[in-house]
């Protein structure tokens, strides 16, 4: 397979950056998108050029490290996959592929296709946890009965890997799907109810402070999410926030 790659190159956070075109050959359909990037980088290194920087880690779709805005969509044209799970058979011979970093004020570019997603970490630190007594009398989490429906919903929300595809896809660069998944995951469980009010207020405040946009319910996030996190979570967070806004002191 012969392809033309149009890749965003940016030497550092303060560089202006530009799209650079790279022709590439001998790409097979059973390669993953990241394998293809590796092939390109080997060629660049052999030529003495600077390889393209991109994020990756587990390469099996569970770590949330890989990103890439491929041909106008987060994680490429396939659904419910991360970039490392995207196969080159999804593209046709001779195709031109645009590869860009996530674009958001809250996700500044570090180099080439690598962005700084620590804004998500700060949102998590603001409330994405439950406080547990660890002074020797820790209660087994499974000792508390939880309805099957809520356990499943919480689990589904917890499958969010925090890759940032929701922010990248949103026309407003809003982080509502990510934050709502994290709020939902805990709000649905008895252990999370204790801190529910402060959690949603603090996480949303941090989300706003980090410079993410506002949700306009376009639904793009849920379509592009590799873990198919549902818009139900955003509605749940809206309910949680309403409750918290009216009842917090």
């Amino acid at each position: 397979m012969k392809l033309t790659l149009k890749i965003w190159r940016q030497s550092g956070p303060n560089d202006k950056g530009q799209i650079v075109t790279y022709p590439i050959d001998n790409i097979e359909g059973n390669m993953s998108f990241l394998d293809m990037m590796d092939v390109l980088n080997e060629e660049l290194i052999m030529k003495g050029d600077d390889p393209v920087a991109f994020d990756h880690d587990c390469r099996e779709g569970i770590c949330g490290m890989c990103s890439l805005f491929i041909n106008g969509e987060a994680h490429g044209p396939d659904r419910a996959v991360t970039t490392c799970q995207l196969h080159m058979r999804k593209f046709s011979d001779g195709e031109t592929i645009y590869i860009e970093p996530w674009r958001a004020k809250a996700f500044p570019v570090v180099k080439d296709l690598v962005v700084d997603r620590s804004a998500f970490d700060r949102v998590m630190a603001a409330g994405g946890f439950v406080s547990v007594n660890t002074s020797g009398n820790t209660v087994d989490a499974n000792a508390i009965p939880i309805s099957k429906i809520n356990a499943d919903k919480a689990f589904e929300a917890a499958t969010c890997i925090g890759c940032g595809a929701c922010v990248a896809s949103c026309v407003n660069a809003s982080a509502m799907l990510f934050v709502s998944a994290k709020v939902s995951q805990l709000a649905l469980l008895p252990q999370g109810k204790v801190e529910a009010t402060e959690r949603v207020l603090n996480m949303v405040r941090t989300m706003d402070e980090e410079g993410f946009g506002n949700c306009t319910n376009t639904g793009a996030c849920a379509v592009e999410c590799p873990k198919e996190i549902s818009l139900d979570n955003i509605a749940r967070m809206n309910r949680e926030y309403f409750k918290a806004m009216l009842t917090s002191e």
Partner: protein
Amino acid sequence: MSKSVILKSSIAKKYWMAFTGLFLCLFLVGHLLGNLQLFYAGEEGRRAFNEYAYFMQHNLLIKVMSYVTYLSILFHAIDGLLLAFQNKKARPIQYAMNKASANSSSASRQMALLGSIILIFIATHMVNFWGKMHFGEIPLHTYNVSMPGQMGQVQESSFYYTHDFSVQPVPVVKEIVVKNELELYIKNPEIKVGEGYKDLHSVVMGFFGKSANGNDVNELAWLAVLLYTISMAVLSFHLMHGFASAFQTLGLRHPRYTAIIKNIGMGFAIIVPATFAAIPLYIFFK
């Protein structure tokens, strides 16, 4: 509960958009039901519409609701523009290639643009009708009656309709002084016999019709009808996303009801603007 949470947080701003938006949907229904009287043809329809317009201007409850509506429009517009500016700032560098159509509807991505067009429409619409009704010069509704005159001749006489049913009809003669456009006085200015109706019906007919009550030829009526119809199409797209979106913002989402809400929203977004647009089209082509 701090003030900043209710006014400044991203989610609270969206609540305000949802509340004002849904209230404005109710306003649309009320406004449309009133406008439907413009399909009521003839002198009877003219009278019904002008009486309705008088009622809308003088009823206390309607007055209160109208101020809530003005505030809702202002708040919806200002809050919406504020959100749109923040959203623009959240992505300073755009993608070279963005296939947004693969994951969302164009209406959902263009709410601010659609809303701005609607705001311009509302401003011109209010200048054309609301402003004329409240501050402009609108002649009172008069009607002609043929009656036998001297020497067996038929004589045409004009009358005013008045708000005070006990003294109507009031003949249009020199002794009647029309003060403040609405109040009719006979001979002695101290004696008020009733209030006439502003002829808003003729203003509407003259605006969208080829000729105003068969008199002047309105050369720009086609343009007014065209712009009105385009505005209603824009409103339709705004509602196609906005109606269901408001429920999602308020957290009203449920596997059983969300599909129903979306269908009602789609029906509302098509039927309401289409019926609004049908009125000037009917006036123009009848």
